[in-house]
């Protein structure tokens, strides 16, 4: 009896099931996943969740305190803060995901080129990554925004330009580690093309670190967008961006603290959600960190 149970448990617990079981025990993964999931739902269902128009308000309802018709109060144009935060989720998540998608594309392509072909391509790409990496990222984005002008699309361009470096490094490292191994040599001996070797043998090795970096990166990009918008360099009025809502909130801190409290809370929760999720995924996926 005592010997039979563990054996049967082991049969039932395939590799997939053990990952699932481990995942449920990682508290940061669970909490992070729930927070991120909730905000994703809010973004998708925004038109159904929002109770008022996010960009058009009723000037008669100027700076209403939270409660009654307006859960989170109204702003200086009489717009519903709750609805603006709900629609703001689309902007934050949209920018975060778009920036990381472009970072992933640039990072994987340049990392593969760098690691696989080496020589001058490697030198050029890695020096470029070093230059960008050696400079405060947000400041670089501020400098770019100063020149190309404030807009949400430009935020995406500026953040995309500075966000690919760590992905490129990870991909390059993985390629270098795998390139000389026997199974790659065997594939080459069997006549596999470079393209096939990259797709079948190299990419699977970088999936885990890429997922972790991208998840953490989305949180970083959301924070960066909010920072730029707060400084007036990002989304422009009347776009309901959380960061630019705080810019107004700062000027009305005494009369209308809710203008600062709720949008900031939304940024904080979303960023923390992605951070916890990223940390949790690292605990789950990165074999070196496994306990």
């Amino acid at each position: 009896m005592s010997a039979a149970v563990p054996i049967r448990a082991a049969i039932r617990t395939g590799p997939r099931r053990s990952v699932w079981r481990r995942a449920r025990r990682l508290r940061n993964l669970t909490i992070g996943g729930l927070i991120v999931g909730a905000f994703v739902l809010v973004a998708i269902l925004a038109p159904w969740i929002a109770r008022h128009n996010p960009v058009r308000g009723d000037l008669n309802d100027y700076l209403q305190a939270p409660g009654g018709r307006y859960w989170f109060g109204t702003d200086t144009f009489g717009r519903d803060v709750f609805s603006r935060i709900v629609y703001g989720a689309r902007i934050s998540l949209g920018v975060g995901i778009a920036v990381q998608a472009s970072a992933l594309t640039i990072g994987v392509v340049l990392g593969l080129l760098s690691g696989f072909y080496g020589r001058w391509a490697d030198n050029l790409i890695m020096r470029l990554a070093e230059i960008i990496f050696a400079f405060p990222g947000l400041l670089f984005a501020i400098a770019i925004m100063a020149v190309i002008g404030p807009s949400l699309y430009n935020v995406f361009v500026a953040l995309g330009l500075v966000s690919w470096t760590s992905l490129a490094r990870v991909v390059r490292g993985a390629v270098l580690a795998v390139k000389e191994q026997e199974f790659v040599e065997a594939a080459r001996a069997l006549g596999a093309s470079n393209r096939r070797i990259i797709v079948r043998h190299l990419l699977p090795n970088i999936v885990a670190p890429a997922i972790i970096l991208v998840t953490l990166g989305i949180g970083g990009a959301i924070l960066a967008e909010a920072s730029l918008s707060f400084l007036g360099l990002g989304a422009q009025p009347p776009t309901p961006s959380w960061g630019s809502m705080l810019t107004v909130g700062r000027d009305y801190l005494t009369e209308a603290p809710w203008l600062s409290i709720y949008p900031g809370l939304a940024i904080f929760l979303t960023v923390m959600g992605f951070n916890l999720l990223g940390d949790g995924l690292r605990d789950l996926l990165d074999p070196r960190m496994r306990v």
Binding site: N28, R127, L128, E130, I131, I132, A134, F135, P136, G137, L138, L139, F140, I142, A143, I144, M145, A146, V147, I148, G149, G219, L223, A226, S227, F230, L231, G232, L233, L246, G249, R250, L253, T254, P257, S260, I261, G264, L265, I267, F268, V271, M272, N275, L276
Partner: protein, 314 residues
Amino acid sequence: MRKGLPAFILRRLLLAVPVFIGVTLVTFVLMYIVPGDPVTVMVEEKMASTDPTAARLFREKWGLNDPLAVQYAKFLWNAARGDLGLSFRSEQPVLTAILERFPATAKLAAAALGIAILIGIPLGILAALRQNTALDAAAISLAAFGVSIPNFWLGLLLIYVVAVELRWLPPSGYGPAYPYLIMPAITLGTGLSAVIARLTRSSMLEVIRQDYVRTARAKGLAERRVVMTHALRNASIPIVTIVGVQISGLLSGAVITERVFSWPGVGRLLLDSIGARDLPIVQGCVLFIASVFILLNLVVDLSYAWLDPRIRYD
């Protein structure tokens, strides 16, 4: 002086050259490929004139009619001699304008770094020494909060609670460290203190299981001495490294914190100049902050040798 040190410093400073060139080139080139002419807009705003002659005279005066490569070469040559040009707006030398504002930023960043170290390191040590206790869990959660909280929001919350509601400190302004520096320094230092706490914890956990710590205990040293001298010093290299990496966050964060508290530093100068399209100042600020960043990182690298005498610079 240690052997190989001057060569190491020289090599590091040379490595900074491509960074400078990259940063200046990006801002320079972007200025030219962007639709819309910043000069015309500036002239319109500054002289309230839409007369094309005004824009032409302005361009001639500032050498903006030269080919891009010539302008860029001039800029680099002058920058290398410490001349960052003149402000479009006030015609004050850019470097003078920046140096006037620098003490405020330096004070803010130093105070924030001090707070981050004073909170982060003890918190990390305590969490590591009491691993898997409630105290450890509290420290970990606190760090997770600190890493994720946007500093501009934290600043606004502090202003609201401490200045508006409790009336303990002034909401913003510049003056003596007490009372003006406290809230800005906490705002800027919190994120870094969380990062330091996390890293101190994991680094200490690794070190306190080492044989030399057991030896130190075995020979009867006081626990305090074991922790502070034998464990912490060996755990400190990753901590110093992360402080070096995070300096960039501290400098970017300073720009935002200065905006929140109307703190008259280089960051505020940068933002005001972006608003006024004063491009020489913008470029000067970016270059200046990059230099500070590179110098501080060099200091961090040099401190490794003091922390671990086995490290050689060659």
